[in-house]
Symmetry: C2
Subunit: 209 residues, 2 copies
DNA sequence: GCAAACAGGTGACCGGAATCACCTGTTTAA
DNA sequence: TTAAACAGGTGATTCCGGTCACCTGTTTGC
């Protein structure tokens, strides 16, 4: 059965008319619990996701370690999945839901024709490519010139903003993994941030100012 | 006067039919000497380039320093220019010819309609976005985990391969700029590479093995 | 032809971060 | 309930790369 318009509500500013009908017909909507790995590295992609609700984070795995690349917010998609899907190449990244999330999944074999016929969806992906590229440049800048304390603080600020929570439940270990460093480093640096009054470590999480 | 088919020869595997005619009609071909800055940071883009002959290098300027992001080889384009052009936003990067080069320049106001009508050109940019994205991931990986010696060696290897020259005429200062580090660091690291037998510093350049 | 600019080399030093080894307190699972 | 696993804290050490100061030799431009 096709999806209903109300199910597709979040993307109705973006898609309309015939394309919306196509999506209703061929798309699938799925819910995922927080912390679900929705895409593994090396996986081949049959469905391209668009986030309707929630938050998904995307990681690049580098030998041994990994690094958080960006978040996919609602109404956004994942260009790495998109390109891996179109080229039928394995994914270089993996993705995990950061919150309980609802995803619209579009079959990759339809994408090719949709892209040709419907500029709306084409625009989405160009826009996404752009944004992600820009974010990667920021990441590089940060890796090149920012010290750990700045990187950590930015990371906490962004996460707090995206999740709309002042207090983040995070383990030092998890932070270290997302920033591609070691746990002890986080423990130390976060204490410096605390002394500078930028964050506060509570029993149930980290409060960000 | 429109461009001739022979002028457009390098892109004729990629573009054909009506699109090729459009390109012949609205495109411009220009030659640039080695070392010309063909795109400045902050500049607004009216023409999207496709390299017909030669080699162009693209840099990201970060506060004070800069970093070589990637090369545009013949038959490739620059996604940063493309996106800046389409969105009418200033360029975040700057580009310099690494060799004497011939560029096909496409007016940005045509791009939008071409992209909608001609999948061939759409595919080019998707493919380029992909490739550049992938290259950025490699850069990040390298920044995160590789030591200077490895980065420098990769840099020399790639440059040697792209230019088809075993002996590279490069100043330590220039290498430092492209890798976003300091001259003294290059002087030292390159000596280590020399001791390891990976490169050799000659009077007229650096030989890469 | 000479001074200035440039390329490269080098020692001393410093600071950030990674690693190692260990310790304490808390949570979890058998 | 008790051991194991986990979270976090900390000192010691090491290493890499950035910076400073300074030197030599070569190229260049007036």
């Amino acid at each position: 059965m096709p999806l209903t318009l109300s199910e597709l509500e979040p993307v109705r500013q973006r898609f309309s008319g015939e394309l919306l009908q196509e999506i209703a017909e061929h798309g699938i909507i799925m819910d995922f619990d927080e912390g679900t790995e929705i895409l593994k590295e090396g996986q081949y992609i049959k469905l391209v996701p668009i986030v309707l609700k929630g938050l998904v984070k995307v990681f690049a795995p580098f030998e041994e370690k990994e690094l958080l690349l960006y978040y996919i917010e609602s109404n956004q998609s994942c260009v790495m999945t998109f390109s891996a899907g179109l080229n039928n190449s394995p994914s270089r990244i993996f993705a995990i839901t950061e919150e309980d999330s609802t995803l619209l999944l579009l079959p990759v074999e339809k994408m090719n024709t949709w892209i040709k016929h419907y500029p709306q969806i084409n625009e989405l992906f160009y826009q996404q490519y752009n944004q992600r590229y820009s974010e990667l440049l920021d990441t590089i800048n940060s890796l090149l010139f920012n010290r750990m304390d700045q990187r950590l603080y930015n990371y906490l600020l962004e996460k707090s903003k995206l999740k709309g929570e002042k207090v983040l439940q995070l383990k030092h270990k998890q932070i270290a993994a997302e920033l591609g460093t070691a746990r002890e480093v986080i423990t130390r640096v976060i204490k410096r941030l605390e002394q500078e009054g930028k964050v506060k470590q509570l029993s149930d999480g980290i409060e960000v100012y």
